[in-house]
């Protein structure tokens, strides 16, 4: 069922068993898992089924600290959420990503990689990926040229990515939701406050407000906030009428540990024998294309050198040509062009491919030079955080204020990564590596083109200890009996790879927990 919340009467009260706030990858996944159960699900989406500027503006926020992409462009506020513009890059987190690493402060999850394996299998299908296989050997595809670089290295391995079409949850799963007997979707239902009981031990309701000033409430036995990493924190912090510092924030952790994945051009690779070196495994064949590999630092090398987990993409190019970071290459103009291209039936090549092709043509023959672009986790940092701005949005809710802060470990890890890569490339005489200037100086300064991948993680991190995390291993907010968080907001560490596959796996796990606890 679907109702546009703008048609509801002022003061209405809706009731259900489970209220999910946010219909993005996490919210839709959880709701679909509860389809055809006895659970009456109320799914609240702030936007409609299409992009609307007025709704998107609610995501506008203040940027302090490191420069960041405009918040209203980095995540989407309508049915399907940010899957409406994601690129579909998927890979699994590794066992080490979940471990407590003594050289990475605040690392360690209360769950292990094995705990997620069965959910990864299920997430693969939801994201329209291939089989749950991420070993290089699984993706040779009968092509003798799909072999890894640095095969005999203990320091580097090839980590595989699969590519979702990419699945647009807003279109792919719209009918599942709208036609579900026990799921009621309300669009244009922007939650402005989470209301707790008197003792602040459980959530009683969420308050929704429209642009016309009308308000209504949703009461439920349990609630899931799945409205994006930054917005989840903002909503909890803004729910401060009953608890001065915000709901679930008794230990001043909500909003902290905001993390990104660095995605920045970091080096050049010159092959020693281009005519004999096979690089096809690393080629990007477009959205939804063939699985490809990136060079990843091994867990043993991470331990030995006390660095973060990272990978490097290997893409043919001309030496010395400018290489843009993700934020530079896929700017808001490009995002709008891609959105229009999809909306108009994907006619012709995608604008992003045209932009990539516009770079200078390579010299004929097998390429000698390759651009190396980092994809690396950011170390968890309590000072990297989302707080509330003094400015309010059109619904009267304080806007998010993002203070993205980095640590010396972030940059040092990247630099050591490329030192080690250079040594391994030289040792095997595969090639030579040049590290970009910005990475060579101190560990504190960052270039103007600093970039993430619009991967927003942390802010309500997972820990068994309420003093270390906002949610427990079941994604339930500590101290609140019936409030859960869905999405990448619960990540304790960022891992090296894109977050969506893990986000969906965690949402499936949460859905199973909600089913199991009746």
């Amino acid at each position: 069922m679907h109702t546009d919340a703008r048609t509801l009467e002022n003061g209405a009260v809706l009731e259900g068993d489970l209220c999910i706030v946010g219909a993005g990858a996490s919210g839709i996944t959880i709701a679909r898992e509860l389809n055809n159960t006895a659970v009456k699900v109320l799914l609240l989406e702030g936007g409609g089924f299409e992009f609307e500027q007025q709704m998107q503006d609610l995501y506008r926020g203040e940027i302090v600290g490191q420069p960041y992409f405009p918040l209203q462009a980095a995540a989407l506020h309508y049915f399907g959420g940010t899957t409406n513009h994601w690129a579909g890059f998927c890979s699994t987190y590794d066992a080490i990503d979940f471990e407590k690493r003594d050289w990475v402060p605040h690392s360690g999850w209360p769950i292990r990689r094995e705990d997620l394996d069965p959910f990864y299998v299920r997430a693969q299908k939801i994201l329209e990926l291939g089989p749950y296989k991420y070993d290089v050997g699984d993706w040779k595809m009968g092509d003798p040229d799909r072999v890894p670089l640095l095969e005999d290295s203990d320091v580097f391995r090839t980590k595989m990515w699969q590519f979702s079409p990419p699945t647009r949850f807003g279109t792919k799963y719209r009918n599942d939701i709208v036609n579900a007997r026990n799921i009621h979707l309300y669009t244009h239902a922007n939650v402005v406050e989470v209301e707790a009981n008197e003792g602040l031990t459980a959530v009683q309701a969420v308050r929704i407000r429209g642009f016309d000033g009308k308000e209504f409430h949703v009461r439920a036995k349990r609630f899931v906030l799945a409205c994006h990493t930054i917005q989840n924190a903002r909503l909890l912090l803004a729910s401060n009428r009953q608890a001065r510092t915000g709901l679930g924030n008794g230990n001043d952790l909500v909003g902290r540990y905001f993390m990104e994945h660095f995605e920045m051009p970091s080096g050049e690779l010159a092959l020693a024998k281009p005519e004999m070196t096979k690089t096809r495994l690393y080629e990007f064949s477009g959205l939804g294309g063939t699985p490809r590999g990136e060079l990843a630092i091994t867990p043993a090398a991470q331990r030995e050198h006390r660095i973060l987990h990272g990978t490097a993409s290997v893409e043919a190019g001309n030496y010395g040509e400018p290489v843009k970071s993700t934020f530079q290459f896929i700017d808001t103009v490009m995002m709008n062009a891609m959105r229009a291209w999809e909306k108009n039936g994907r006619k012709g090549p995608p604008p992003i491919a045209a932009a990539a092709a516009a770079t200078a043509p390579r010299t004929p023959g097998p390429p000698r030079f390759f651009h190396l672009t980092t994809r690396q986790e950011q170390a968890p940092n309590p000072d990297s955080r989302v707080t509330l701005s003094t400015e309010k949005d059109a619904l009267g809710v304080p806007r998010a204020r993002l203070d993205w802060r980095l640590t010396n470990l972030d940059k040092r890890s990247m630099r050591i990564f490329y030192h080690l890569l250079g040594r391994e490339m030289g040792r095997t005489d595969t090639g030579r590596v040049q590290i970009r200037d910005w990475l060579l100086n101190d560990d504190k300064t960052w270039p103007g083109f600093i970039s993430g991948g619009w991967h927003h993680m942390g802010t309500t991190r997972m820990s068994d200890d309420p003093k270390q995390g906002v949610v427990d291993a079941n994604c339930k907010v500590h101290g609140l009996a019936n409030l859960y968080i869905g999405g990448a907001a619960v990540y304790a560490t960022a891992g090296a790879v894109n977050p969506t596959l893990t986000l969906v796996a965690l949402s499936l796990r949460l859905a199973d927990h909600l089913k199991g606890t009746g």
Binding site: A270, A272, Y319, H419, M425, G426, D429, G431, R432, R436
Partner: protein, 124 residues
Amino acid sequence: MTLDRRRFLQLSALSVVATLADSACQPNRTIGLPELLGMLGPDRVREIGNHYRSATPAESTADGLRAAIFNSQSVFSGFPLIKHDPIGDQIRDDYADGRIVLVDGWVLSLTEARQCALFSLSVA
């Protein structure tokens, strides 16, 4: 024609001497022509060499660089019948043993960097 034992030994000895001489000469022939030339091209190699010399004043002359390359390892005193590519071996050893330098951002073996420096002196 048949070879008697004495003649065979004479020829073998000559062959060993020739091999020794060839091996001993090879470093001098190739030392200033790094294999990086094929990979990076002369302009970048020269640039790397210039960077290395300015960062390492003690090795800024051709003689100093040759001495540094020859003195850095014992490969040139190795048995010449096995060491056909002493510079290549030295470079491999550099990478394996961590004798790595960073020159103009390039991660290179110390021997390679010195070769680049030598090359930068030899070319106008």
